[in-house]
């Protein structure tokens, strides 16, 4: 800058010099060029300045031309140069200022940087201090850690020592244990050797026992052979002993025979003796026969008695049954009498006081009451039906009444509407009349005006006036007519409206129907409402309305749940039991079938209880049948015997268990007169000896011995006896 300034000064001095010369001469540029050469290296910017200098010089020349009164063109050129230079000067100055400002800014930035660096330096120094402190602390820690390490080393050494000791001791122990183990091994080896020896011995023994066993086997075989020999011997022995027994038996039999022979001898002796005593025996036989007869009669009596006793017993049983029945009947009778008394009391209560108490009276009374009751019921039903009918009519009338009331109301409403309409019409009429009055007045006014104009405006032409007025009046009249027409239209509209508003007959009917349906609906709804109220009351009582607000909770371990569970269990158990029993039942049925088969096959060893009962019943029925048959048979036999007796004249009685028959005739003189006949094995009849037969010896000899005909003999006897009886009678 300074250089620029100095060059400028130089230039100015030169210029001034040139001016001072004031002689018009050629411009010298050498100086300038020298200065230029000096300045040329300083800055390349100067080149431009160079031209400016030229210009400047030219301006200078211009000035000088001014001064030296140069041409006007040159002057103006110089001036422009000056101006340009000035502008450049100011530009440069601006640049200088800008550079100064930049410099200042750079300075400020540098300063701010320096302050920032200072601060950083402070911070770093602080950090440094801190780090130093940290380092110190670390050093302290290091020292402490070193100490710790020393102590740890010492401890380690100690532990090492300890472990060495323990290792030593363990090694010692190990060696000891090894020794022990060796000892033990030795012991085991010894034992093993011993055991081996023992085993060897045991083997030897085993071999010995085997050989012995072999020996025993052989022995056993020998013994077996011996045993078989012995068994043979035994069987021989048994055979011999059996034969011995048989022989003994034979001997015994023979002895018995000998004895029996002896007995026979004795018997023959005794029989001989007996034969000697035959007559005694015969008398004895007679006696015994008598005795026998007597016993037989006794037995017959006894049988009779037994029958009678049985009869009496049955009668007694029947009697006892009858007696018990009688007692029960008596009890019933007393009960019935009591009842009768009660009935009589009831009858007395219910019958008239002075009439005789009897069931008939009671019945009549009851009938009377029933009839009254029926009458009452009938009356009641009729009255009820009447009341129902009346209620129905009342309801109907009420309905009609309500319908009429509704109609009246409707008509009233119509009337009111009409009245309103009338009022409106009247009001309209009043307004219309008022309007009319007003228009009349207006017309009068116009008339007045006309007259007034006639008087005042005489100068106006009458024709004009009249026309004007006519026009006005016509306009008013048309307006008036329009209004009238609108009013008439309005009236017509109103009338139409009225007609529409008036209910037509058809409409009325439909409305009535609608009303009826609505009324029915109303009734229905009322009933429903009552029902709902009842329901509501009920629910109110139960208290379960708006249940949604509440929830129902219960303890899960309640008795109900328990009971359900237990009942379920019981059910399951019972079902299982049923299943079990069913299975068992089936099994039993199968078994029973099997057993039934068994019983039938084994001939009824075990009998079914039911079958047993059935058989017992059958037995009883069979017994009864048999008894009946016996009775029948007895009756038939007695009848048969009687008939035989009456027809043939002989009673034939069977005596004793043997087929002995006693025959007594109808015409016999005494009951002692009878004949005994027996039927022997060969189905032949034989006459036995009896006291009566002895008396008939000739007849027997004659007929029986000769013709061997019992019927002939008996008929002859009958004839004889009959003749004898008739002879005695006659």
């Amino acid at each position: 800058m300074d250089e620029i300034r100095s060059s400028m000064d130089n230039m100015m001095a030169q210029f001034n010099d040139s001016v001072t010369h004031s002689a018009p001469k050629k411009l010298l540029f050498n100086r300038l060029s020298t200065s230029y050469t000096d300045d040329f290296i300083a800055s390349p910017k100067k080149r431009r300045l160079d031209s400016s200098d030229n210009n400047l010089n030219s301006t200078g020349s211009l000035n000088s031309s001014l001064n030296s009164s140069l041409g006007p063109w040159q002057n103006s050129q110089l001036r422009a140069d000056i101006i340009e230079l000035k502008a450049r000067n100011s530009q440069l100055q601006h640049e200088v200022e800008r550079q100064i400002k930049e410099h200042r800014r750079a300075m400020a930035v540098a300063e701010s940087k320096s302050t920032a660096l200072k601060q950083q330096c402070d911070i770093t120094s602080k950090k440094m201090i801190e780090m130093e402190r940290n380092v110190q602390i670390m050093r302290k820690r290091e020292v402490a850690l070193k100490e710790e390490a020393c102590s740890a080393r010492a401890e380690l050494a100690q532990l090492k020592m300890k472990f060495d000791d323990s290792i030593d001791s363990l090694q010692k122990e190990k060696s000891q244990q090894e020794e022990d183990a060796r000892d033990v091994q030795l012991c085991i080896n010894n034992d093993l050797a011993e055991y081996r020896r023992m085993a060897h011995r045991a083997d030897l023994e085993l071999q010995a026992t085997r050989t012995e066993l072999e020996r025993f086997r052989r022995r056993h075989d020998e013994f077996k052979a011996r045993v078989s020999g012995h068994e043979d011997l035994r069987s021989d022995f048994e055979k011999q002993s059996q034969s011995l027994k048989a022989a003994n038996e034979r001997i015994k039999e023979l002895e018995y025979e000998i004895q029996s022979y002896n007995d026979w001898k004795e018997v023959t002796k005794a029989s001989q003796e007996r034969l000697a005593s035959v007559p005694d025996l015969q008398s004895e036989i007679e006696r015994l026969r008598h005795h026998n007869k007597h016993l037989n009669t006794l037995i017959g009596d006894k049988l009779l008695l037994e029958e009678k006793v049985h009869d009496y017993k049955t009668r007694l049983d029947r009697e006892e049954g009858a007696r018990a029945e009688a007692v029960s009947l008596q009890v019933k009778l007393s009960h019935v009498e009591q009842e009768l008394k009660e009935w009589v009391k009831v009858a007395q209560d219910h019958c008239l006081p002075n009439t005789l108490v009897s069931p008939m009276a009671l019945r009549s009374r009851i009938e009377q009451l029933l009839q009254e009751d029926i009458v009452h019921v009938a009356e009641k039903t009729t009255s009820e039906s009447d009341t129902k009918h009346l209620q129905a009519t009342v309801r109907e009338l009420e309905q009609k009444c309500s319908v009429y009331l509704k109609n009246i109301e409707d008509l009233n409403i119509g009337l009111k509407r009409h009245k309103n309409f009338k009022e409106r019409l009247q009001r309209k009429l009043i307004t219309v009349s008022k309007e009319r009055d007003f228009y009349k007045q207006m017309v009068e006014n116009f008339d007045k005006d006309l007259t007034m104009s006639n008087t005042s405006m005489a100068d106006m032409t009458l024709d004009m006036q009249v026309r004007y007025r006519m026009e006005v009046l016509e306009r008013t009249v048309t307006g008036y007519k329009d209004m009238c027409a609108t009013l008439e239209r309005e009236i017509q509209a109103m009338r139409q409206q009225e007609q529409l508003a008036e209910p037509s007959g058809e409409g009325y009917d439909s409305v009535k129907k609608e009303l009826d349906t609505l009324r029915l609906e109303n009734d229905r709804l009322r009933r429903r409402k009552e029902e709902m109220e009842l329901e509501l009351m009920h629910r109110c009582l139960r208290g379960d309305f708006n249940m949604k607000e509440f929830k129902v909770v219960h303890l899960s371990e309640n008795p109900a749940a328990e009971a359900y569970e237990s009942s379920k269990n019981v059910m399951e158990k019972l079902q299982a039991e049923i299943e079990r029993l069913k299975r068992r039942n089936k099994k039993l049925e199968d078994d029973q079938e099997q057993r039934l088969n068994e019983t039938t096959s084994t001939g009824g060893m075990t009998m079914n209880f039911k079958e047993f009962n059935q058989l017992r019943a059958e037995l009883e029925s069979a017994n009864g049948k048999m008894r009946k048959m016996k009775e029948c048979f007895k009756a038939a036999t007695t009848e048969f015997r009687d008939v035989c007796y009456m027809l043939l004249g002989y009673r034939i009685d069977r005596i004793g268990a043997n087929s002995n028959y006693r025959i007594s005739s109808m015409y016999a003189e005494s009951p002692e007169d009878y004949l005994d006949i027996t039927l022997n094995e060969s189905n032949c009849l034989a006459l036995l000896e009896s006291p009566y037969s002895r008396t008939l010896k000739p007849a027997i000899d004659q007929q029986l011995a000769a013709s061997n005909s019992f019927p002939a003999f008996f008929s002859a006897l009958t004839l004889e006896l009959f003749q004898r009886a008739t002879v005695t009678i006659t």
């Binding site: 208290g543 607000e549 509440f550 219960h554």
Partner: protein, 207 residues
Amino acid sequence: MSTAQATKNCITLKGSAQIIVEYLKYGINSILFQRGIYPAEDFDNTQHYGLTILMSKDPKITTFLQNVLSQTEEWLSKNMINKISMVITNAHTKEVLECWDFKMQAELGDGDTSDPSKLTSTKELSRIQNEIRDVMRQISATVSYLPLLDCICTFDVMIHTLQNTELPAKWDETGAIVIQNAQAVQLRSFSTGLHKVDTVVNYKMST
């Protein structure tokens, strides 16, 4: 002295709940006996409310009632119960035969009503007990018209609580019970001043 007197005759919500739970205990036992749900030899005589009441001595029933009623007392003292139902069912078919409803209505009492958890009533205990005695007598008298329970029956106690009630352990939510062809009879009610208890018996009409 006056304060002592005042506190003596006061019934709080807790006290009211205690009175009602006592009534429920005796009432349920009485119903169990009167309706013959358990055999008569399982019951013991006790004197209460001036009446002889038969109480079950079956340990299962007593523990069940103890558990239920302690919980009921807790809920009642917070006014969370609408009603308590004792349901008698057929043990085999689970059919509901009878339902005894004890309906609870909260009342404000006659003390300070500003704090709903500290309501009080000055109704005398002897009066309340007299009212309860009348209800108990009616319970005994119901046997004359209730249908005969001729099957093995069992019972359960269901509590109708508010929806937001938290259920303790061992408590379940169950559905509302329904009696087919039911008939309801309302017995007398009693009040502690803080709770009004209506006793209603619903029973199945015998066909």
